[in-house]
Symmetry: C2
Subunit: 342 residues, 2 copies
C-alpha cells in the first residue's frame, strides 16, 4: 500500500486546490493513503465535502508556512523546521511515507529536499526532471531549474539519471540522449559542454551528441540534457508559446462567422489538440537523485494539475525509481570515475 | 540610394534561394541596388530569369566559400579572405555598400563581422537581435547566439542596444526592458544577473527587473535581455514548438470529416493564424553594435525569408541605426562607466 506525504500549504491556490487534487486522484485510485501537512482548520474545512477521501487522509497539523516569496536562506536559517513542507519531506526521510508532493516555493523545496532527504551516493546534485510532448511522443528533459550553473560532471550525472528515467517511466528500451547546445557540430558551445560530451561518448548509453533547441519539440532524442537555467527558461517559454498560439487561434476563429462555424463543426478535433498540449497533463516535475521520491507541482497548478503530480509520484514509487537509480548509478559510477580520473 | 552587399553563397539553398529572395524584395522596392558576391557562373545562371532584377545587381566573383560545417578558426585562419562572406563584409567596411546580408555559417559570419567591421566604440561584443511575436505585438530579444557566456557588462550593453533598437525600429517611445531569469524575485539567479540588474536599475531606461521564460510570449516587456546560449535555445525551441502545434493541428483536423469540413469553412482564419506566426516574416537576425549594418538570415530560409532579411537591413539603414547607436551609446556610456567605477 502506498502512502504519500502532501504539503497542504504549497501553491497559489492552496490548501483548497491541493485537497481538490487529492480528491480527483482518489477517484481514480482509492488505494493510496495521504499524510496531509498544514493548517488543521483550513485543511479540514477543505476536506469537508469529500467523505470518501477523508477515509484515506490523515491531517497532520503544522505551525509554519513556506511562502513563495521567501528566499532559500530565509527558509533554511530563519524557520524552526515546522512548516508543512519541512514536515512532509521528513515523513519520507523517516519512512512514514513513500513519496512527497508540494506545489510550494521551488527553490526552498529543492534546498529542503537536499537537506532532509539527501542525494543518493555518487550524485552531487539532484535534477528536476519533466516530460514534454514532441512530434514522436514524450521526451524527458533535465535539469529544469535545480542547478542553474552546471559543470560537466553534473551534466553527465543528469544524462545517466534521465536515461534511467526514460527506461523505467516511459518504457523506452534504449533511450537516446542528447546534450542541448547552440549547434550540433562538435566545435559548438563552451568547454563544459565539450567536456561532458567527451565523457558521455565513452559511456554505454545511446548518446547522440549535441542537439539544438528545435530538436526538443521534434523529439530528436528521448532524453534532453541541459543546465537548470536553460531548462527552466525553455520550459516556461514553451508553455507561454503554447498559450499564445491557442489564444491567437481562439481570437482568429472568433473574428468572423466562418471561423465560428468551422470551429463548431470541428470542435472535437480542437478539443483533442488542446488536450494533447494541456500542460496540466504533464504537471509534476520530479526531483531525481534523492533518497526518496519527491515531486514538485507547478505553483499555479489547478486540481487536475495537482492530481497529475500525484499520479507521477505514484508511478515513480511503483517502479522503485530510487532503488533502481541507486543500483544503476553505482554500476555506471565505475565508468564515470574512470573517465574523471583521466 | 541604398546599396547592399549580399553573400550569394550562404545558406542551405544558395545561391538560387538568395537570388529568388532578391527578386521578391526587388518587386516591392526596385530602388535598392545589390553587390552580389559569389561564384559568377552559378549566380548569373540564377539571375537569368529576372531581367528587371539584373539591372540593379552587380555580380562580384569570389573564389572561396565558407561552408556551414567550417569552424570559426578554420574560417579566420585557414582562408585567404576571398570568400563571398569576407568580400560582402569588406564592401560595407570600405563604404561600397550600406549594409550586408548573409544566410551562411553563423559563427563564421559573427567572427568575420567583428574582425572586418569592428564593434562600435564602447561596445565589447556585438549582439544578435531579433523580433518575436507576443500577445502584445512584437518584442525585441537579444543576444540570440553571438556571445554564449555573458558577463554583467555584456548584459548591460545588450539592454541599452535593445532599448535603442526598440525605439528606432519598433517605434516604441519608452521601451520596457527585462532581464531573463528563472524567477522574478530579486533573490533568483546567479551573481552575473544580479550585478547586471543592479547596474540597469541605476540607468535612465525603463528597466522592470527580472522576467521569466513565460514572460517572453506574454510580451511583458518590449526588450528581453539574455545571454547568447539561452537566447539561441529559446528562439530555436520556440520555432520548433510552433511547428509542432501547427503539424498537430493539421493532423487532428485531417483525421475525420468534421475536422476537414470545419477547416475548409474556417480556412481564412487558419491562414491568418499561420501568417501571424510565420517565422519567415521575422527572419533576419541583426548584428547590433558594429560599424555597419549586418543581418543574418536563417540558414534554412527560403526566398520569402531571405527577402524579409533584406527588408530588415534596409529598415536599419533608413533609421541610421549605426549612427544613432554610436551617439546614444556615448551618452549612456558616461552612466555605465560611472557604475563600473563603483
Amino acid at each position: 500500500m502506498t502512502r504519500l506525504a502532501i504539503d497542504g500549504m504549497g501553491g497559489d491556490y492552496a490548501p483548497r486546490m491541493v485537497v481538490d487534487g487529492l480528491s480527483l486522484f482518489h477517484a481514480q485510485d482509492p488505494s493510496v493513503e495521504f499524510l496531509l501537512y498544514g493548517d488543521e482548520v483550513s485543511l479540514k474545512r477543505s476536506l469537508d465535502p469529500y467523505s470518501s477521501l477523508r477515509k484515506v487522509v490523515e491531517v497532520v497539523p503544522t505551525t509554519e508556512v513556506v511562502t513563495s516569496d521567501m528566499s532559500v536562506s530565509q527558509v533554511l536559517r530563519g524557520m524552526r523546521g515546522e512548516s508543512s513542507m519541512h514536515c512532509a519531506l521528513k515523513a519520507v526521510a523517516e519512512k512514514l511515507a513513500d513519496g512527497v508532493v508540494s506545489a510550494g516555493n521551488t527553490g526552498a523545496y529543492m534546498a529542503l529536499s537536499r537537506m532532509i532527504l539527501r542525494t543518493l551516493r555518487g550524485i552531487d546534485r539532484p535534477a528536476i526532471v519533466g516530460c514534454m510532448p514532441t512530434q514522436r511522443g514524450l521526451s524527458v528533459m533535465l535539469d529544469l531549474g535545480g542547478t542553474l550553473q552546471c559543470d560537466a560532471c553534473h551534466l553527465v550525472d543528469y544524462a545517466l539519471m534521465g536515461e534511467i528515467f526514460a527506461k523505467k517511466i516511459l518504457g523506452i528500451e534504449k533511450p537516446s540522449v542528447g546534450l542541448l547546445n547552440v549547434g550540433v557540430e562538435h566545435s559548438k558551445g563552451g568547454d563544459t559542454l565539450k567536456e561532458a560530451s567527451g565523457v558521455l561518448q565513452s559511456l554505454p548509453i545511446h548518446f547522440v551528441g549535441f542537439i539544438e533547441g528545435n530538436d526538443i519539440p521534434k523529439g530528436t532524442v528521448d532524453v534532453i540534457v541541459t543546465d537548470g537555467f536553460t531548462g527552466n527558461t525553455v520550459l516556461k517559454s514553451g508553455e507561454g508559446i503554447l498559450n499564445l498560439v491557442f489564444q491567437s487561434m481562439r481570437q482568429q476563429l472568433a473574428s468572423d462567422w466562418r471561423g465560428r462555424l468551422g470551429y463548431w463543426i470541428a470542435r472535437k478535433s480542437f478539443e483533442q489538440l488542446k488536450s494533447q498540449f494541456d500542460p496540466r497533463k504533464h504537471n509534476g516535475a520530479i526531483w531525481l537523485g534523492l533518497n526518496g521520491v519527491a515531486v514538485k507541482s507547478h505553483g499555479g497548478a489547478d486540481a487536475l494539475g495537482f492530481s497529475s503530480a500525484i499520479s507521477n509520484t505514484v508511478k515513480m514509487i511503483n517502479v522503485s525509481i530510487t532503488e533502481v537509480l541507486e543500483e544503476c548509478f553505482s554500476q555506471y559510477h565505475t565508468w564515470i570515475n574512470g573517465e574523471r580520473g583521466l
